[in-house]
Symmetry: C2
Subunit: 739 residues, 2 copies
Amino acid sequence: MAHKVQETNMDVDYVVVFRVPDDNKEAGARQFQKLIRALAETGLATEVRRNDETSLFIFVKVADEKTFAEVVYRSRIKDWLHGIRQIQPTQDTAQTLTSEPLSEAERYRMIHHMICCPREEGGAGITPKHGEWKGVEAVFPLHDHAKNKKWLTEFSQKTFLTPEDLDEVRNTMGEKVGYYYAFLQTYFTFLIFPAAFGLSAWLLLGNYSAIYAIVTGLWCVVFVEYWKRQEQELAIRWGVKNVGKIEDKRREFVPDKIITDSITGEQIPYFPSKKRLQRQLLQIPLAILCIIALGAVICTCFAIEIFISEVYDGPLKSVLVFLPTIILTLAVPTITNYLTQFAERLTFFENYETQDAHDKAMVSKVFVINFITSYLGIILTSFVYVPFASLLVPYLDVFSLTVRPFAEHEKQLQTPSPAAFTINPNRLKNQMIYFAVTAQLVNFAMETILPLVTQKGTKKYKEMQSARAEKAGGATPSISANDPPEEKEFLSRVREEAALPEYDVTSDLREMVIQFGYLALFSVIWPATPVSYFINNWIELRGDTFKLTVESRRPNPARADTLGPWLDSMEFLAWLGSITTAALVYMFSGGNGPDGKPHAICLWALLLSVFLSEHVFLVVRMAVRYAISKFDSAAMRKERSERFMVRKKFLEEAGLADAIKPVASPPNSPLKTASGEQAFTSMISRASLEEDARADSLTTSTPADHFWHHQRSWAESERVGIGMIDLMDLKGRGEKKAQ
Amino acid sequence: MAHKVQETNMDVDYVVVFRVPDDNKEAGARQFQKLIRALAETGLATEVRRNDETSLFIFVKVADEKTFAEVVYRSRIKDWLHGIRQIQPTQDTAQTLTSEPLSEAERYRMIHHMICCPREEGGAGITPKHGEWKGVEAVFPLHDHAKNKKWLTEFSQKTFLTPEDLDEVRNTMGEKVGYYYAFLQTYFTFLIFPAAFGLSAWLLLGNYSAIYAIVTGLWCVVFVEYWKRQEQELAIRWGVKNVGKIEDKRREFVPDKIITDSITGEQIPYFPSKKRLQRQLLQIPLAILCIIALGAVICTCFAIEIFISEVYDGPLKSVLVFLPTIILTLAVPTITNYLTQFAERLTFFENYETQDAHDKAMVSKVFVINFITSYLGIILTSFVYVPFASLLVPYLDVFSLTVRPFAEHEKQLQTPSPAAFTINPNRLKNQMIYFAVTAQLVNFAMETILPLVTQKGTKKYKEMQSARAEKAGGATPSISANDPPEEKEFLSRVREEAALPEYDVTSDLREMVIQFGYLALFSVIWPATPVSYFINNWIELRGDTFKLTVESRRPNPARADTLGPWLDSMEFLAWLGSITTAALVYMFSGGNGPDGKPHAICLWALLLSVFLSEHVFLVVRMAVRYAISKFDSAAMRKERSERFMVRKKFLEEAGLADAIKPVASPPNSPLKTASGEQAFTSMISRASLEEDARADSLTTSTPADHFWHHQRSWAESERVGIGMIDLMDLKGRGEKKAQ
């Protein structure tokens, strides 16, 4: 144990938190027995300690390395059969763990698999918070605090993470988290360019610069395509290529019927695709519902805000102007929450067979909701408020209701005539600055600082409460008071970790994708946006590390070979960016008129610029995609060579090495006996030919046999052919004339 | 031999035509010797006959089945290692040919491979018409005339080919031709729908119907996506999935340098991708050149035609109107020819490593040329002539030069004032009818009937000539006079086949793709187009069969698992169709004004309809693609099951069948010794616990060891845990109150 005593994890591999149901102690005891036995049967050693009033910790470690080696071997064989690894694992299980040592994350993944995978596949079949295992509240590994501290210190001291840092994240937290870090790192590095260019564009070219728009569009394409390539290379580097092909069955999947495979004879749970496709059609009403529900709230608040800020002229204006923001802040998360629940239910109803497909379907729905909540406001400002404000403002007086109580007289509520109304030319820019700077800061505070404060507060509060209770006397002594003294520190740490929330890499990833969206769709409004994002993302990575290591339970390592559906979202956003950016540049780059309205917008010119921009984008994307696909990398070369070696080795092992070499000379080739040209021709003696002819007349019967017996061997064919050539009448040699 | 005597192929597998160079008989003889020996060394038997004045036939067949079985086995192992076949071939080469008999096409492919593949890979290394083997004019198998006759009869009697017919085409001609037939068949079948719908639309809705446009667009999407799926299924059915991965090296590839692979130690010829990408950039000037060269000719002829038909009013108008067509007919093929040569040279310059990549690059260039020659005329009519004619016609007087000699007075050449000019409203429709009907007929005549006539004519001419020569006396007797009488008929047939051109499946495929393009892009102009294509394609398939079996040498069977780049072309055309069709419908569906000009075209409305149509197309395509990808088919199920069986078999063979089964109870699991609950608890006696404690104090040293020795076994964990649960203070049970 290299750690200091206060940081040892006591060789614990995994912690299972088991809560006894409030109303049934016996049932709890029975289920607990079952749990312990299931774990023991799987080859895991257990130690039980008390967690809190109604729950236990079951500490789990591998019972003996031999059993564990078998588990690892089985998993590697499976990987090999699914094409995840090229090289067949050595059959000697004793060597399994020594020849290819496991990373920490791999070890934890295996143990998590042992605990959670179904009994048919060799696991204990524990399904936390689900079915009969409802009492199992959590299954998690313990943080490596020394390493966490090292990360926090190191990462905060460098600008860029090295590939080795990423490898370490992957080795500790698994590939899924590793991919997020790699993505964030790549994105951060790529941001240097638009940050530098955006800053110069902001200073030199101003907002709505066409040059900035073109460069950013190009950058988006290159970044997305580069990342796709990077993803593949990481998959090779981390040995997870094709893991998507191992499809873990969803335990919630409800088959329509069980069919028997005609070839394998297996019983396969079956759910018709047609039925699922029909259910998926419900996504359309769901999307419409999202648009209506969120759209209505956002549009209303938007209109109220316009009314108050641009029309209303009464008292408390500076306060009332925050009213719509408050409504939004309260209403949007609530509605989003409802919609997400709808989406979740629909995804369950769609009844996917694999967890992967389920997650993907869920992410695509979440993306729709996020798209509306994130971008609708700014879309309204750019494409409704600015061009149509003078037309729409007169109709805003319905919203006078919201501020009527505060108004002193009707005049303060009167909408101006279209001619008198002036569009606020800075509204769009201010909104973009809000998304580029303020929102990022708020987000960081909500995501990283708030949980910390809450945790500390809760802890303090609990301590104070128990201290008061002790003072008052009569209360049961706290559970931790009974801990063995040498484990006190360890158990209190485990209790703290068990109380933390799970780390959700998807939400961090979503945040980055949404940020990328602002960049692709609207950054032309305020070209300094990428600078802000560049700075923000430096902090983001450190903040996420803090969240991952201090504010969350250690995640169960999961494998992945792609960001999955988020990548599609980014592609979509980059594409959409080519449309919005062209529209924004066309509409606003001419500057605004005296009424704040942009200079004459020609609808056909707007459409034409959008059409051209989009198609140029698509052509460029195709070219970039092609070019990137053609570049070879060390990782890819390595993979190819490995595959080649595997093939070669296979052939050698099977004694077939010569099967890829030519047959040097066929078994009955006459070349074996003759070596020089002289020998060739002398082989066919008069006698042998006559003998052949005789043999022919005895045995041959079909015309084909006759045909093939004119020349008995290749040597005779040669002789006959040369004879024919000799007879030839070649113009070039002028023999005809000689005749 | 089941065939009649006059149709036997004398068991000949392949025919090699060797021509002696005109100027060097000795060199010819030497090369001939080399050829015969190379063939013999590879395990092929040979017979030599005279072809014509300066060339020989070398008839080739497999020398003995054992050597051939080895070749087949080697090829199957290679397939297996590349993932083309799931099941490992049996190692016993004697069984190779009996356990899985070869189809005719496979046999010929193997033999062609033996003749043509490089010596390093076990072949004879003959490269027809290339390098030192320039004298080898052709390497081809002989037609199976009985089967050919059967096909011609059968196919002309049925409307649809059955899957078995397609299998037979594949078994005889190889997968590449098989894919063409399958495509043509699928396309033909799919055409039923637009043909029926188009006919009704033509009768009921008239031209430029929006409904027809929407239905056709949808049809295009479904057809292309369905075919993509069909392709995959055929690949499984024909066992060619992944053949694209076996990358045959191009022998013309010129490496920049030879590098040594660090892992395999192999010497690899290397050409940097960057250099190739730079060379590929030349495609842009090439495309521009194509557009300018062909565009100029087509535009000029177009303008002349307009001038003559709409402006010119002098004598000979009815004759002169064909002038531009004649210019086009002469100039376009010449220019196309030049451009194709340019394209070919550029493709060579791009220096691809594999034949596949080379062909793909060539096809994409050919597609650009074909696109311009096929569609530019009609694009000009729709999007330049009709909307802008009145603006452009005044400038057409430059073309008066072309007809000036025929004009009687200046007035006949005078362009009318824009106001007086009337657009010919039928021009567009007539043009489309030309492409839908006339061009197809002309094409059929050029492709199928003309070669037949030419052949017959040439044969007649030669016969007459030799007859005259014989009459005149003094000439050498014809070569065929010296044929052995029993081979006379056979050899004359081989001579005929050798004189035939090679069958080029690509050009047939191109024709169909271009036809699909007319349908997708312009059929809304004349909705009866699909009817014509439906009829045409019935004839097309029979005509192509005739061309394949009678008018061409039998092709060397080649494998394929896709139509390749043509598929991309079709996708592109379908996409473009969503743009042109929307534009045509918007522009023309309102009918024409009195001057032949369509009713007021609003540019923004045009652009908007194009924009919407395109994006609806893209969304629908995504949905259709998704839906089709979710439908399972028998072939795919079969493949999955097979893969599963292979995995299972592997594990069984390696004695690892239990590696995918769970470890029922780990070796040292205490469950082995205890069976009932009573036994469990009784296992831990006071004594053993004390002993454990003693042992602990002797051996343990770290806190972790201490930690894990509190509970020595799972049974003790269980006991301790149940004890803890018993002590718990559960609110639900109201124990607190009892206290």
